[in-house]
Symmetry: C3
Subunit: 204 residues, 3 copies
C-alpha cells in the first residue's frame, strides 16, 4: 500500500513538472503554469471519474494538491537546472503511467465495464492529463503523434485481462501489468521504437 | 427500432471515418487517429450525458466501440480511395446528425428541461463530436464557421416542439423532425446556402 | 437576494458580449458566435458543477439563457459601437467574477471540500468560461498569460477563509470577499500591475 502511494506521488511529481515546463515554454505567467501542472497531473483521472460518475479523487486528497503546487514552484524556480534531472523525471513519468493505467483499468472494471472499455479507461487515466495540457497550450497532443506512450498503456491493459482470464492472483495481475507498461515504454525509448509510419507513401 | 439502430450505426460509421480522416490530415499516428475517430463519434453524446448526469451511453454499448475501431482501421488502410465514397459518407453523416438531434432532444426532454435547452442538447449531441475533433486537431471548430450544419439541427428541434405543441403522435414527431434536419442539410449543401455573412462590411 | 441577481445578470451580460466579440474576431458565423457567448458565460460554473456532481445550474435557469442570446445578438448587431461601452463592460465583467468567485467558493464549501480546493473552485467558476472560450477560438487562454484576473479571485477566496476563521458573519464574509476580488482587479488594471515576469532573464 505504501509502495503504491510512493509510485503515485512520483507520478504526480513527474506530471506536474512536465506540465510546468510546458507552461513555461509557452511563456505563461505563474498562475497559468500552476494550472497546467495541475491539469497534467489530475486531468486523466478527472476525466475518468467524470465519465464513470464516481467522486473525483483529488478533490479529497490534499497530498496531491500540495505535491503539485510544490513541484510547479520548484520547476519555476529551478527551470534552468531541471535538465540535470531529465532521466529521473522520465523514469518517474514512466512509473506514473504504469500505475495510473492499472488503477484506471481497475476503476472501470469495478463499474462492470467491458475489458476493451476498461483498457481504454486505463490508457485515458495515464495519458489524458497530457492531452489536456497540450490543448491548453494550443498544441496537437503529442501522444497522438509520437512514441509508444499510449501503446504501452494499452499493452499493460491487455496483459491485465490475459492474466485475469487465467485466474492469476490479484497482486500478480497488478504487478505484471504495471511492469509491462513500464518495460514497453522504457524499451521503446531506449531502442527508439514508434508505431508504424502510415504516411510513408506521401513522403517520397 | 431496428431501423433506428441502422441509422445510428450509419452515423457512427460516417463520424468515425470523418474523424480518422481529420487525424490523418494532421499526420497523427494510428493511436491518435483512433482516438479522434472515437471522440468524433461519441463526443457529442458524452457531453450531453455528462451534463444531464445520466449514464454515458457508449460505455455499455460494444457495438459502437467495434464499429468505430473497424471503420477507423478501414479509413487508415483505404485512405487514398475513400474519395469514391464521399457522397455516401456525406449521406450517412447527415442521417447521423438527424438521428442524434432527435435523440438528444428526447433525452433532455425526459430530464424535464425547457424546450430551448432541449433543442440545444439535440444540436450538441449531433455537432459536438465534431467540435471536440477540431479542438484536438488544433483547429477552430468548422461548424462555427461554415455551413448550415447546426442550423439544420436547431430547425429539427423547433419542428419537434411545434409538432409536440399540436399534440402530434410521438412517432410522427420523431420522423418529421428527423426529416427536417436531413432535408435542410441536404438542400443547404445542394444549393450552397449558408448563414448570412455578418462581416461583409469588412471585406470591401 | 435581488441585488445578487442583478450582479449575476450583469456578469452574464459582460461574459456573453466578451464571448461574442471573441467569436467575431475569429470571423465565426452567428451560430458559432452564440456558442462562444454561451460557453464564456456558463463554462466555468458548468465545469464546477460537473466536478462537484451537482446539477448544472443554467439547465434550469432560462433567465441566463435569454440574457446570453439577447446580448450575443446585440453584440452582433452593434459590433462597431460596443467600444463606447468598453468601460461599462469591464466593470460588469469585474462584478461578475467577484460574484462567481464567492458563489464558487460557497458551492465547494457546501460539498465539504478543503479551503484550498474551495478557492480553486471559486477561481474556476469565475475564470474557466474564458478559458474554454479561448480554447474554442484556438488561442492559449489569456488568463494564463496576462493580468491579475485569476489572482484577484484567489485573493478573494483567501479573504473568505480568513474571515471565516475569525467567525465573521456570513453576510460580511460574502461582501468583503466580493469587494476584495473587485478591488484587486480594478486596482491592477488602473495601476497596470501584473504577476512578476519570470522570464526576464531570457529577454536580455
Amino acid at each position: 500500500m505504501d509502495f503504491i502511494l510512493v509510485l503515485d506521488i512520483l507520478g504526480v511529481v513527474a506530471f506536474s513538472i512536465s506540465g510546468a515546463l510546458a507552461g513555461m515554454r509557452k511563456k505563461l505567467d505563474p498562475f497559468g503554469i500552476v494550472i497546467i501542472a495541475f491539469v497534467t497531473s489530475v486531468g486523466g483521472g478527472t476525466l475518468r471519474d467524470v465519465l464513470l460518475q464516481t467522486d473525483v479523487g483529488w478533490l479529497n486528497n490534499m497530498l496531491y494538491v500540495y505535491t503539485i503546487l510544490l513541484f510547479a514552484l520548484i520547476a519555476i524556480i529551478f527551470k534552468e537546472r531541471l535538465n540535470f534531472f531529465r532521466k529521473s523525471l522520465f523514469l518517474f513519468d514512466t512509473l506514473g503511467i504504469g500505475l495510473y493505467t492499472v488503477v484506471g483499468v481497475e476503476k472501470a472494471l469495478s463499474a462492470d465495464l467491458h475489458p476493451i472499455i476498461c483498457i481504454a479507461f486505463g490508457t485515458m487515466s495515464a495519458c489524458f492529463g497530457g492531452v489536456i495540457r497540450d490543448i491548453l497550450c494550443n498544441e496537437i497532443p503529442i501522444i497522438f503523434r509520437q512514441e509508444i506512450y499510449a501503446t504501452a498503456c494499452i499493452m499493460g491493459g491487455v496483459f491485465y485481462f490475459a492474466l485475469n482470464y487465467f485466474n492469476a492472483p490479484d497482486s500478480i495481475i497488478f504487478v505484471v501489468s504495471f511492469v509491462v507498461v513500464v518495460a514497453i515504454r522504457l524499451l521503446a525509448v531506449v531502442f527508439k521504437i514508434s508505431l508504424p509510419d502510415i504516411y510513408k507513401s506521401n513522403k517520397n
